[in-house]
């Protein structure tokens, strides 16, 4: 996935909402929108499954305990693969790995992006110049090939390597969005007031600027988590993750390696892929709904004119 920015409408948010209100809005958004409700329910189910996989799947995901290539049955809901592993157990236990990656990468990339984007906008001058150039350069280097190269050199493949590589390479888009938003704030009166009070810059950034951008930050987190799911699964699928972890991407890797589609074991490849799509859809739906509700200015006609370049 060379990630040509996907079908999720790109946002240029203008609304600035105080922190408390924004969170209240999230709650209201979830209650009032079908999209948001669907996304939330899906996500909560996935989180519960990730927390308590043993309750749902009684088999071990890694043990080659059964006859290979069983069809679906009540004992093995999705059948078994060529190694005699229970596929249902693999899908259930695999939820944990992908959710850990999604939330960690989502939080870390958004965190880095907030720091860099807001610092660039607020500090201005040379700082802004330098940070913006770094952001822009990283933004145009094709992400997925770069990740492939990094993962290939990193040899000791593991979830940590995946998380680090994805985080370090994919914060730039969010940083750029946050910078533009923070720029619109720079000369507002309440920041002027803080400056006059003699507050330190770091205090102003953390306590005054960032809280006004909560809605954009939440939306960025959702987008980044979605990309983390897609990127990490893709890397695992082509064998650049740890082949021994239990995760959807790894299950897909073994399915592809054993030509599961061609040898009459389609569920081996279809089931984990479906889960990735479903989890991705959960994040995308939440993001879309949140975008519509958290920012009334975008809702009607004037939505999503993509601003690119510079």
């Amino acid at each position: 996935m060379a990630m040509p920015v996907s079908g999720v409408p790109t946002k240029t948010r203008a609304a600035q909402i105080p922190a408390g209100h924004a969170l209240a809005r999230v709650g209201r958004a979830i209650r009032s929108s079908r999209k948001a409700a669907t996304g939330t329910v899906l996500l909560v189910i996935f989180i519960l499954v990730a927390l308590f996989p043993g309750v749902i799947a009684h088999d071990s995901p890694t043990q080659d305990a059964y006859p290979p290539r069983l069809g679906p049955s009540s004992a093995h809901l999705l059948g078994t693969n060529s190694y005699g592993q229970d596929l249902f157990a693999q899908v259930i236990w695999g939820t944990r790995n992908v959710l850990i990656i999604a939330f960690t990468v989502g939080l870390l990339t958004t965190g880095i992006a907030v720091l860099i984007g807001v610092a660039a906008a607020y500090l201005g001058g040379g700082w802004d110049g330098t940070l913006s150039v770094v952001t822009d350069v990283l933004l145009v280097i094709p992400l997925f090939p770069l990740l492939i190269v990094i993962a290939a050199y990193a040899q000791g493949e593991s979830t940590i390597v995946l998380i680090t590589a994805i985080t370090l390479t994919s914060w730039s888009y969010t940083a750029r969005q946050l910078r533009s938003q923070a720029l619109t704030l720079r000369n507002r009166d309440f920041l002027e007031a803080a400056r006059v009070r003699g507050e330190r810059k770091i205090y102003v950034i953390v306590m005054e600027v960032i809280p006004t951008m909560t809605s954009l930050i939440v939306a960025s987190f959702l987008t980044n988590a979605l990309y983390a799911v897609l990127l990490s699964s893709s890397l695992q699928f082509i064998g650049l993750g740890d082949p021994n972890t239990v995760s959807w991407g790894t299950t897909l890797y073994w399915a592809q390696n054993n030509a599961a589609l061609q040898t009459g074991e389609p569920l081996w490849a279809i089931a984990p892929g479906f889960c990735i799509a479903l989890l991705g859809a959960a994040f995308a739906l939440l993001n879309y709904a949140f975008d519509e509700i958290g920012n009334p200015a975008l809702r009607p006609v004037r939505r999503s004119k993509r601003v690119r370049g510079a």
Binding site: M1, A2, P4, V5, S6, G7, V8, P9, K35, V133, D136, V137, V140, I141, P142, F144, P145, L146, I148, V149, I150, A152, Y153, A154, Q155, G156, L226, L230, S233, S234, F237, I238, G239, L240, L252, Q256, L261, Q262, P266, A269, I270, G273, F274, I276, A277, G280, A281, F283, A284, L285, Y288, V301, R302, R303, S304, K305, R306, R308, G309
Partner: protein
């Protein structure tokens, strides 16, 4: 003019960063991946090949990092990318040359198709806002944007390739029964093999075109000159195409220029699922075969293609949108 110069400067800067990343990554990674690779190929390569590798990754050479760096830059600019390890003793350049046309053919044609089709659907969807098409398209593409490309490809392989046997689902042509050449059978064979990968690409990329076109067009339709055209009683078709679409198409055109750069890298996973003999599949083969020289060269090729396309998109914007020129 200043705008153009700034974009050119940015292009040179990003190119330099990409080249330097390519140089530094293998040297900075813990555990020296180059050494591991050299050990693996030690018995298989002649001393000449081994020597070239050692120079490429700065192993056993008595050069400082800076000397290595300038040597590397010199090699890149003279088109010397070394020798491929998996296709030894062929040069990296010739190996890539054999794969690139497959990718350009498949992904290039599909990109143009997706652009034309998506833009058209976007225009109609915005024109009949709230109509059938318009109520289906946006939500569908919110969902498809979350689906991994390679999974779409796998489903297509399963349904049309394996279950229905409508199209071949592996490779670029029948390697065993067909020989490449300029004849009709081979041509048909290639089209047949390209159908499913192209469909997978089309499904996963068309949404962006539709949504961008639709959203810009909706904004344009609210402009005064469109209302004026309606008031004059011009035929709907003419308003839709000449007044609204013509002015709304800029973001899509710029996106199109950019997406041409992603032709090379855009289908890595789709090529992988279909074992399609293009550049993306080759990149993954190079990775799994630890053919680092080939991998490095492919990464550079992909990056340069994207950077050139972005530059082209910027210049196109400056050319077509006078506001850009005035603003900078």
């Amino acid at each position: 003019m200043r705008y153009v110069l700034r974009r050119l400067g940015f292009f040179v800067l990003t190119l330099w960063v990409a080249l330097t990343l390519n140089f530094l990554l293998p040297r900075l990674m813990p555990g020296n991946p180059a050494l591991a690779m050299l050990a693996k190929f030690h018995g298989e390569l002649g001393p000449g090949g081994l020597n070239a590798l050692e120079t490429l990754f700065g192993v056993n050479t008595h050069q400082s990092l800076l000397q290595q760096y300038f040597g590397y830059l010199h090699d890149v600019f003279t088109g010397n990318f070394g020798i491929s390890l998996s296709e030894y003793p062929a040069t990296v350049t010739s190996v890539i040359g054999s794969a690139i046309w497959w990718t350009v053919g498949l992904v290039g044609v599909t990109t143009v198709l997706a652009f034309l089709l998506g833009t058209g659907l976007g225009i109609v969807s915005a024109w009949r806002r709230g109509g059938k098409l318009d109520s289906i398209v946006p939500p569908v593409f919110v969902i498809t944007s979350a689906i991994p490309y390679f999974w779409v490809a796998m489903v297509l392989v399963l349904v049309f390739g394996i279950t229905l046997h409508w199209f071949p689902s592996q490779g670029g042509y029948y390697v065993t029964t067909d020989t490449p050449g300029l004849n009709l059978t081979f041509f048909q064979d290639v089209i047949n093999h390209a159908f499913l990968p192209a469909l997978a690409l089309l499904i996963t990329t068309i949404g962006t075109w539709i949504l961008t076109m639709r959203n810009t067009m909706i904004t344009t339709l609210a402009e005064d000159y469109v209302r004026m055209a309606r008031a004059k009683g011009l035929p709907g078709r003419r308003i839709m195409l000449d007044y609204a679409a013509r002015n709304a198409i800029l973001p899509n055109l710029v996106g199109f220029a950019m997406s041409l750069g992603f032709v090379v890298s855009g289908a890595i996973l789709i090529e992988y699922v279909f074992n399609y003999p293009g550049v993306g599949y080759m990149l993954l083969q190079a990775v799994s075969g630890e053919d680092y020289p080939l991998m490095q060269a492919l990464f550079l090729l992909i990056t340069v293609a994207v950077l050139v396309a972005i530059l082209a998109a910027d210049l196109l914007t400056a050319l077509l949108d006078p506001r850009t020129r005035a603003a900078r």
